[in-house]
Symmetry: C2
């Protein structure tokens, strides 16, 4: 008899692959879809098995955040002015987080909880110190910049790929109907802009203007 391979017994679980699986679920179906039980079935295991690898659900999210930070390719120092180096770092973070619009929200509060997060933080804080900002300002501005990149990614108009195309069209029609039914005397400017709350004419323009805004903000305030 030829050896007909039985379906391999599950490979051993481990933090990294579990976190990767959770990230995949979140990317395709949203963060709410990531449940201990779902992740367990996906890995052919009882829910309680996960508690060997993660203390609780929050620790699982730490793992997800770490994976996203690991995808940030920080640029080598290039001897440019500090605000140019800062821009490059922000672009690198943006590039990584754009892949995870449904999950990016978990990243900011967890930046100090993994090596790749710490590396990013050290880099940005260092650049801000070079720009003349105090330790307090650097901490505050650095935090704000990271949250802002997340905002750009998570609130990009019309990018909620969570639902199937039909349901998405349906939702879009609903919102459009609501916006277009507004009183034009009362909300003239809102009506002019209405379609751009639902639709992004150019992702590249949107994101590059976002980065421009952030760099302008940083360079526009007084270091103290």
């Amino acid at each position: 008899m030829a050896t007909v391979r039985e379906p391999k017994h599950r490979e051993r679980l481990n933090r990294e692959s579990l976190a990767a699986c959770a990230l995949q679920i979140a990317d395709s179906e949203g963060l709410e879809a990531v449940t201990i039980r779902r992740l367990a079935t996906e890995n052919a295991v009882t829910p309680m098995a996960l508690y060997w690898h993660f203390a609780d659900k929050d620790a699982l999210f730490d793992g997800i955040a770490e994976r996203m930070y690991a995808e940030v390719n920080l640029p080598e120092p290039a001897g440019l002015p500090w605000h140019e180096e800062l821009r490059a770092a922000l672009v690198a973070v943006l590039a990584a987080l754009r892949a995870h619009p449904l999950v990016a929200d978990v990243a900011p509060p967890r930046i100090m909880k993994s090596e790749p997060g710490l590396a990013l933080a050290e880099c940005v804080i260092g650049l801000l110190r070079t720009g003349g900002f105090s330790p307090a300002q650097a901490a505050q501005i650095g935090t704000f910049l990271l949250c802002s990149i997340v905002t750009l990614v998570t609130r990009e108009p019309g990018q909620d790929q969570r639902l199937d195309p039909e349901a998405q069209d349906e939702a879009l029609r609903g919102k459009r109907a609501q916006l277009e039914s507004m009183n034009p005397k009362k909300y003239p400017n809102l009506l002019d802009s209405s379609e751009f709350f639902l639709f992004c004419p150019s992702e590249d323009v949107y994101f590059s203007q976002g980065i421009d805004f952030l760099v302008a903000g940083v360079t526009g305030i007084q270091p103290r």
Copy 2:
């Protein structure tokens, strides 16, 4: 016999007071504490009673957002340059949301779902149009500005008043220990700034620099 008042039968429920109650719970214990069942017991009613007043939990959150937007006191147009008027509007939003650091996150996606939200949006979009921005840019920048104010409020260092003082001190000690145990060769700048991720030297300075940053960002980019 003197009429000893029986505890009044519950007053009739209504959207507004339910939303107010939910907001109060969220302010003191965080958004996760707002559950249909908790809100029901708080109002001496079965969980299902709430479904008469709100289609689902999301609609309850719409109500919470509306209440917060209603607290924004938009300044009268004062004939100042558009960016000064914009600053005043941002300050007004900040003032309102500062009262709700644990809840402010629900506001941005719901700005178009209530009259006070729409009034704020119309105001900000109008000012951005006056500043020369296109309808598309105005929509994107306006959204970003609102999210940024929320970021300032929700990520203010050391302001998580959710737990009792002892538990909060405990959590703080844990984080501080972690930060101070970092390798000083590897994370020198991070270590310099570490205490300012946990503690805000001055709320007023923090928020006014935040507003300065945003105004600098807006005035620093090219209207197209």
